[in-house]
Amino acid sequence: MPVKQQTKPNAADGVVRFENVGMRYGTGPEVLRDLSFSLGPASFHFLTGSSGAGKSSLLKLLYLARLPSRGLITLFGRDIATISRRDMPEVRREVGVVFQDFRLLNHLSVFDNVALPLRISGLHEGIIRKHVIELLTWVGLADSLRARPPTLSGGQQQRVAIARAVISRPRLLLADEPTGNVDDVIAMRLLYLFEELNRLGTTVVIATHNDALVSRFGRPRMELEAGMLKFHKANVATPSTIDSVDSTAEAQSTWPPVRSNLTDKLSG
């Protein structure tokens, strides 16, 4: 039974808050209508819906590639309509995106691709090196630092894309069909990776078609249908993510995390 998401008591502190948001391209019909919801810190949601239902449009609003035609969007407690163009990049840096087609820069090495968000933030090259190598080791790509993305397999490219999305420890991680190009085994591994990040305090939204995966992971689901959003509770009886994770405590742990059994999951 679809149920309406309960607004959390501390909604003002939420990572994402939509109020009556509508969006249209140009003068076309509204592809998103009357979206009102909020996502708390360290929540984990799947975003489903048939093709053309507006998943990508919703993600575009979330990663600030588009502005809504109407309504109010609050990211990290800031009304995005009031953020000046100059301040936008700082907000964008809090959002990590794994694009459906990865969008890796093919003329840069794996290392440079992952280092890009840190370089943009103006970090010291020594620190960048340390972090990037640690993260790439963590996702099992330590041997491919100098490789160009086109020489990698789909699954490897995906891990590079994910590494780039999480290297700067975003507070919100968005992934558009991250399992679209890989087989189920890799898809499962990637979802374990997202779960690991979520445990560290990142709010995760994953758009996917793969219903089997959604039910296996037992996480709440947002379903877009003809531009309207419905919330579903987790299908499988697992502890509710939003309430179970003590995000503040987890978020303060070191990054990248100490080698966990994740590496085994990735390579196993």
Binding site: R86, P89, E90, R92, R93
Partner: protein
């Protein structure tokens, strides 16, 4: 582009240098010519010369007056007449080279009249006519060369604008990714700017080397030719300096254009 601009600029520099040389060489000089009337003896001509020089030297404002020896006149005519000509038998005019004192305006007409009264067949040339004609010619050539430099610069800007737009279209994805992962416009523009600067500088330096080689070649060629026929084409050190600036300035223009193009494209994104 840089090559053409350099050659055009070199043209301008050389022409104005040439004009300055000529002006300086001629502005305080007049030449007096005594035409042989046909029936005088060489002693009479010598007497005319001496008389003329005497008159000149007592005229105020004249610093020097020297008769040009007949052998020198013959040497000047040699390219046209050939070495074998019996110069001595030809009724050559005799020339007196007169140097005026600096900043002294003397009454050329009065002097001319006074000389004509005393010496038959005398004419006085203050080079006014030729100087004016020559400087008109050189000035118009200079304007032409400057126009060429300007046109080349405009064409270069146009090429860079279109090349950068093409680059933007090709790298649209890259720009969008940089933009979405939180790069400031300046960061993206800097990447493009640096890329354009490196590319243009590399191209310009090659063109510049070719340009300098061409100029050195031309001036060597001019030196080997008979120096009495052609004015010397010498590029001075400051002129070399100006020419070397051409590739750098061209690259700066390209860099600035690339920056502007990228910034404008980015301004259209959210």
């Amino acid at each position: 582009m840089v090559y053409l601009a350099m050659l055009a600029l070199a043209c301008t520099l050389l022409l104005s240098g040439l004009l300055a040389d000529w002006d300086q060489g001629l502005s305080n000089k007049i030449t007096i010519q005594i035409m042989p009337l046909g029936d005088e003896t060489s002693e009479e001509i010598e007497a005319h010369l001496t008389e003329t020089i005497r008159i000149l030297l007592i005229t105020p404002g004249i610093a020097e007056a020297n008769s040009i020896p007949i052998t020198e006149i013959a040497a000047m005519l040699e390219p046209w007449l050939g070495a074998a000509a019996h110069v001595a038998e030809l009724p050559l005019p005799r020339l007196i080279d007169v140097t005026l004192e600096e900043n002294r305006n003397i009454d050329i007409e009065g002097l001319s009249k006074q000389l004509a009264e005393n010496v038959p067949g005398i004419t006085l040339d203050d080079h006014h006519f030729w100087r004016e004609q020559f400087s008109k010619l050189v000035r118009s050539l200079e304007v032409l060369a400057i126009l060429v430099v300007g046109l080349v610069a405009l064409a270069a800007i146009g090429v860079v604008v279109f090349a950068t737009r093409g680059g933007l279209a090709v790298h649209r994805e890259l720009i969008e990714v940089l933009h979405l992962i939180g790069a400031h416009d300046e960061y993206v523009a800097n990447q493009f700017q640096r890329h354009t600067w490196h590319n243009c500088l590399r191209g310009s330096v090659v063109a510049g080397i070719f340009g300098i080689a061409t100029l050195v070649g031309i001036s060597q060629l001019a030196k080997e030719l008979d120096p009495t026929l052609l004015p010397t084409i010498e590029v001075e050190i400051w002129q070399w300096g100006t020419l070397i600036l051409v590739p750098i300035i061209a690259s700066l223009i390209a860099m600035w254009t690339a920056r502007r193009t990228v910034m404008r494209a980015l301004a259209r994104m959210v």
